[in-house]
């Protein structure tokens, strides 16, 4: 069914939100997801809906798609009131939900056929449209493959192709890049650019990756259901002009970072490579009593402005460096704390981890970096003794995990993905439970619970139910629980996924302090920027090691004359491209 194209002369925005409110009720609890959002999105442009997990992005997307009703306020999509005429809106938009909305039992071609039928694309128009979409997404050779057998990046592109079978006027993409490898992410952005530039499509794109803001034409920054900022990304970074610096000094980068973070006027200090990136409240360099401090101006990033806005709203985390106690555990044997050689894990014919070797020294922060499905979590579970290896050797704290998994586990603190707290228990009950699970009792247990409450500033929240805690507090509580028995090795599985930048910074400050105190930390992440906090990195894809070494060294390999200061993401793409592909175009 042909869609009359809207008159290009119409200045009317593609999307108009006015004081949109929405809350959810579960039992007696009411949680406010959106608290008065007013914004517009221009036609033919990419608008980014940016914010951490729980900010209200998905709720807003669903409201726009007519899948939910707003409690108050109005939403106009392409000039149509969604609340009144949801079906008319749905005929003109395309929506890709978080899990891509694919039928995993159906092949690529069958998925396309289904969506073509649903969107009223005539059979005669299909071959040309399919050819175009398959070419654009690079799925041409895989039309007969069952969607469930595609990689994460390919699923994402097929999901996109399905929503584009009938070209929508407004394309809604809900977190399409979460957990997808950087190469697929780059390719997705190329497709989006093509859609807006060549096909004049309007795109609304939600993401928790702040670095993607800079690729949008227009940004809606939301946090806790409120709009923190709205405008071109350049406007956000322009505010930060002259307030960002790279610092080096005659002390370790972690010490330097801690000193600078406590300096007056500094609103942000993060480790970046061998340097520390500092952001100040005013357009002036930071003043700190640090020997041989060298400062060079740095270009501002979108994230700086988010941090500045959060600080301006009074969200000031404690500036002191947490004096996390040195573990009292017995000294470790000399040599590497963790050593892994030729580690392999098969599930039937599928090789999840393929010949992985590395060692981790005491007090080191070691990162496993890779997209979803790269084999990080499988490696992790083997290291924790939760999953037996199919081959290779694994030694943790001097114990062979094949023979003495229980003994090794006593030395390990483990923080699982999604934190695995008991949601119905209070903060204090969670602490007590986990400490008894680690066999603490009596005065010692009371002392550790008191330590955790003081150290992680959980005292005020003692009686709060864990489920109701903000994400940042949940993360703190989970870390406290993992530290109850003073482990000398800490395993963190996706610890900062989706938390806001301040909570993430605070988390890394604690992790850094622990590492300084001699705790060995192993962390998995799909956030490329987090790799900067690690001393050593292992980049994994499809179960194999792509690159290993210090973050600086890995980044240096991607350095080209055109790109003198590559990011970790550039480096990742470079290592993926390197072995089997020609030089990138």
């Amino acid at each position: 069914m042909p869609q009359a194209p809207e008159s290009a002369a119409a200045p009317q925005p593609a999307l108009r939100l006015h004081d949109v409110r929405r809350s959810f009720r579960t039992g007696r609890r009411v949680s406010v997801a959106l608290d008065g959002i007013t914004a517009t999105a221009a036609r033919g442009a990419v608008s980014g809906l940016i914010g951490p997990d729980g900010a209200g992005k998905t709720t807003l997307m669903r409201l726009i798609a007519g899948l939910l009703r707003a409690d108050a306020g109005t939403i106009e999509v392409l000039g149509i009131d969604v609340a009144r005429e949801a079906l008319r809106v749905q005929g003109r938009i395309g929506y890709m939900p978080q899990r891509f909305g694919l039928y995993e039992d159906l092949s690529v071609a069958e998925n396309l056929d289904l969506y073509a039928d649903l969107q009223g694309v005539r059979p005669a128009e299909r071959p040309a449209r399919y050819a175009e979409l398959l070419h654009m997404t690079g799925l041409g050779p895989f039309t007969a493959r069952i969607a469930g057998r595609l990689s994460g990046g390919m699923k994402q592109k097929l999901g996109l192709a399905c929503t584009l079978v009938h070209p929508p006027e407004l394309l809604l993409l809900d977190e399409p890049t979460v957990g997808v490898d950087p190469v697929s992410r780059r390719e997705l952005w190329q497709i989006i650019d093509h859609l807006t530039r060549a096909a004049h499509m309007t795109v609304l794109f939600s993401t928790a990756y702040l670095d993607e803001a800079e690729r949008c034409d227009n940004v809606l920054l939301i946090h806790e259901g409120r709009l923190l900022g709205h405008g071109r990304p350049g406007q956000f970074t322009a505010e930060m002009q002259g307030r960002c610096f790279h610092a080096t000094a005659g002390l370790g980068r972690r010490r330097l970072q801690a000193r600078l973070a406590d300096a007056p006027g500094v609103i942000d200090a993060v480790i970046q490579g061998s340097r520390v990136r500092v952001v100040t409240a005013e357009a002036a360099p930071p003043v700190a009593d640090v020997p041989a401090l060298e400062l060079t101006p740095a270009p501002p990033r979108f994230e700086d402005s988010f941090v500045a806005r959060l600080r301006a709203r009074g969200a000031v985390p404690p500036q002191r460096t947490p004096a996390t106690a040195v573990p009292a555990a017995s000294p470790l044997p000399a040599g590497p704390v963790i050593s892994v050689a030729h580690l392999t894990r098969r599930f039937g014919a599928f090789v999840a981890v393929d010949d992985v070797s590395f060692t981790v020294a005491r007090g080191e922060i070691f990162g496993l970096l890779g997209a979803n499905g790269a084999g990080k979590s499988t490696t992790f579970r083997m290291l924790c003794g939760l999953l037996p290896a199919s081959g290779g050797t694994l030694r943790v704290a001097g114990f062979d995990l094949r023979r003495a998994a229980a003994a090794a586990r006593g030395r390990i603190g483990y923080m699982a993905q999604k934190f695995s707290l008991y949601g119905d228990l209070s903060v204090a009950q969670n602490l007590r439970f986990f400490s008894s699970a680690y066999r603490l009792s009596g005065a010692r247990q009371r002392a550790r619970v008191a330590w955790a409450e003081a150290e992680f500033e959980l005292g005020a929240m003692r009686e709060a139910t864990a489920r109701d805690l903000p994400l940042g507090f949940k993360q703190r509580l989970a870390l406290a629980c993992a530290l109850m028995h003073e482990p000398d090795i800490l395993f963190l599985d996706e610890p900062t996924s989706g938390v806001d930048p301040l909570a993430r910074r605070e988390f890394w400050r604690r992790i850094n302090a622990l590492a300084e105190a001699g705790v060995t930390v192993l962390v998995t992440t799909h956030f490329m920027e987090e790799a900067e906090h690690c001393d050593q990195l292992l980049i994994m894809a499809q179960g194999r090691v792509l690159a290993a070494g210090a973050p600086e060294a890995i980044r240096r390999r991607a350095r080209t004359p055109a790109r003198p200061d590559p990011t970790m993401e550039d480096a990742f793409i470079a290592v993926i491209d390197a072995p089997d592909r020609a030089a990138p175009p």
Binding site: A65, L67, L102, L106, Y115, G159
Partner: protein, 374 residues
């Protein structure tokens, strides 16, 4: 129906058929689940006692005692277990290892040989009143036939033998399975029908495909129809399989017409699928959908359909409730079609009731389904 709507429905139906073919779980619910349940209940739920474990306590072994106890050993109804003392036997009964005790006291042989009265003790576990009554009857029967045989052999006093009257009439020719299996089919197909629609829709919610589906031009009508049609076909296939098991495996006679059976089954299947659609309106994951389907369809059908518990002997209030159990009408139809033939005075009113139930459930499912997540 517009060309666009037809194409959308066709697309959804093709998708559903491909999914049924590639993911065996729907086929398992339609064919394997009824077959397994029919086997379990068909063989397990029977009102006849067979191979009942029973304790035999012979305090003083003797030829005459052995002649009596051998009757138990050769009976198809009992599986005798020997004990030396009555205390051991009572303990076994308390543990439900045996259902009853036959006790031959120490003076049994002496009294029997002296031609006098030789009483035996019979103790029956009364926990299950129905079982107890049946076992009691069987034991009395065994005792009576033994006495009669003995009297005939020795030319003794047969009148004493006849003085023990069996209280439960025993007729091995009547098999309660013929009566139970048709009702069982109704109960099982209630569960299968509801599970088919409730689970597949919940699966779409779980996998996030429903969300993508809803933001297209498809209407809620088309979504429901696209679920109803394929699973109706599948459910009828399962029904046919169950009837085949009943007739060919259990040997239940099918007296009535296959066409009456097919037509009434279709009405019933619509009602069962409608219940599933209604459940899917609020159960957004397969676990909840499965639990709700079992509790709201299978259990009421089992207890309130009259397939084993007689509706007329229920309290009035409970009898009223049975009218909203679709399986009740189908049980009546199936028992009639299988055992008695096309008895229109039974089939017609129950078929009308099924049609009304189907209409109500489908209308409720349509009314509660919305093209929204909240």
């Amino acid at each position: 129906m517009s060309a666009g709507a037809t194409r959308r429905l066709y697309g959804l139906l093709r998708k559903e058929s491909l999914q049924i073919w590639r993911d065996p779980s729907a086929l398992a619910i339609a064919f394997v689940l009824p077959a397994v349940l029919l086997m379990i209940f068909g063989y397990g739920v029977t009102l006849d006692a067979r191979n009942v474990p029973i304790a035999l306590v012979v305090q003083q072994p003797s030829a005459i005692a052995a002649s009596f106890t051998s009757r138990f050993a050769h009976s198809p109804f009992f599986r005798p277990v020997r004990f030396l003392t009555i205390q051991d036997a009572e303990r076994a009964m308390a543990a439900r290892d045996v259902q009853g005790i036959v006790w031959l006291p120490g003076d049994f042989a002496r009294r029997a040989e002296s031609g006098g009265n030789a009483p035996i003790g019979v103790i029956v576990n009364g926990v299950d009143a129905n079982d107890a009554r049946i076992i009691e009857g069987y034991v009395q029967q065994a005792w009576a036939t033994w006495l009669a045989a003995r009297a005939a052999a020795t030319g003794g006093d047969a009148a004493m033998a006849l003085s023990v009257q069996p209280q439960v009439r025993f007729n091995p020719a009547v098999d309660s399975r013929d009566y139970l299996v048709p009702g069982l089919i109704a109960v099982i197909m209630t569960l299968t029908g509801a599970l088919l629609t409730a689970l597949v829709i919940a699966r779409e919610w779980e996998r996030g495909t429903m969300e993508a589906l809803m933001v297209t031009r498809v209407t809620i009508h088309e979504i429901l129809l696209a679920k109803l049609i394929p699973y109706f076909v599948l459910g009828m296939g399962g029904m046919a399989g169950s009837v085949a098991i009943a007739v060919f495996l259990f040997g239940v006679p099918l007296q009535g017409s296959v066409w009456v059976l097919t037509a009434t089954s279709a009405l019933f299947m619509l009602a069962a699928l409608g219940m599933g659609l209604l459940i899917s309106g609020f159960a957004r994951n397969q676990f909840v959908a499965g639990q709700v389907a079992i509790i709201t369809t299978f259990l009421p059908a089992f207890i309130l359909s009259g397939f084993v518990f007689d509706i007329n002997s229920m309290p009035q209030a409970v009898q009223t409730i049975t009218h909203i159990v679709a399986a009740r009408y189908f049980v009546a139809i199936l028992q009639s079609v299988f055992l008695a033939g096309n008895v229109w005075s039974v089939i017609l009113p129950n078929a009308v009731a099924l049609a009304v139930m189907a209409a109500i459930f489908l209308a409720l499912a349509r009314a509660t389904a919305r093209k929204r997540l909240d």
